[in-house]
Symmetry: C2
Subunit: 199 residues, 2 copies
């Protein structure tokens, strides 16, 4: 029989839904939250409650917007001839931090995963097709995860894009920077070998 | 320059205060929270906002109470001759789960730690002394962490308790169950050796 107050169990239930948080970590988090000052906890609660009202996604590209204009769709500052297809708004920020990309983004909102109930309809391909028709894109980069789901989605997207008359490239696979060959798995090494480039 | 909406940065700031959560994890949590259904997020926010109103500490022992009565102070069900001194309400639940203890608890609310500004006053020793005077305790177990702060606090408590005419014991140090000698650090091994017991 658990001696936890029921509200604490409910709180742990919520916390367990965060990525990588199990029962023990949820317990640690819950007890830590109990030690927060009431004022701080209220501010946190208020922010969470209004999260969906305050943080919006751009209607065109799907990236997060601060205020009313989408920084990532700004025609004056971005290169409108390149479009990068990503699975979540977070990836745009990761790519942005590299400072190696100045083009447009398009968030498809997830990867194909029949087991998780994510099917073709949820990729929003009609929206992508409409958007491509309205832009002057010359190059499309598919920047999805190098997982089974990412591979399947990338392949499917590539075929669709070819049907619509676009050619697409995908992020390179290979050694992560700073890694030693000893610690790189066989699959990555094999990809690095087949994708080798001339100096 | 960060492209994160300011509310998202604030949210990450809050999440970073949870134990063991760094910038990357806070980012993962924040983006996961963005994918929650608004209804679920509202329930979570509501619970957090009312946490201090809903979850109370027992005025006598400091443990968490569900409803109005403290399960841990229940005279009919608990052994009133043993008192266990713990640093947080969470520890009572951990000890309770062992099913090896049926006595009373007393939460001191933290360990002595001059660097974190936790001094003697915050241990609530007067409250402990008053409580001991009103109870018929014959045995006191000090169940604090086996850290530098835990050791210092235990030693101090032991001296105080002796001054008040009580003798106290402390949790045993030694090998954790299921561990191999190979993986146990020298300090633990040395404690296990000095604390050895006859079969």
């Amino acid at each position: 029989m658990s001696r936890y107050p029921s509200e604490l169990l409910t709180l742990m239930g919520f916390l367990k839904q965060l990525p990588g948080v199990g029962a023990r970590t949820a317990e640690r988090f819950a007890f830590q939250l109990l030690t927060w000052q009431p004022g701080q906890l209220h501010l946190f609660a208020e922010l969470l409650g209004s999260l969906h009202d305050k943080i919006k996604h751009c209607q065109a590209c799907g990236c997060l917007i601060d205020g009313s204009d989408c920084h990532f769709c700004d025609k004056d500052k971005r290169d409108g001839t390149i479009l990068c297809i990503i699975s979540s708004a977070k990836d745009a920020l990761s790519l942005e931090n590299t400072r190696a990309y100045k083009g447009l983004y398009h968030v498809i909102g997830g990867l194909l995963s029949p087991l998780d109930g994510r099917s073709l309809e949820q990729l929003g391909l009609e929206q992508l097709q409409e958007r491509l028709a309205s832009l002057e894109v010359k190059e499309i980069i598919i920047a999805l995860d190098s997982t089974l789901e990412g591979d399947a989605t990338s392949l499917y997207l590539k075929e669709q894009l070819e049907k619509w008359g676009f050619s697409a490239s995908r992020l390179a696979f290979g050694l992560p920077l700073g890694s030693s060959l000893d610690f790189v798995d066989g699959g990555t090494l094999s990809k690095a070998l087949t994708g080798r480039q001339r100096f």
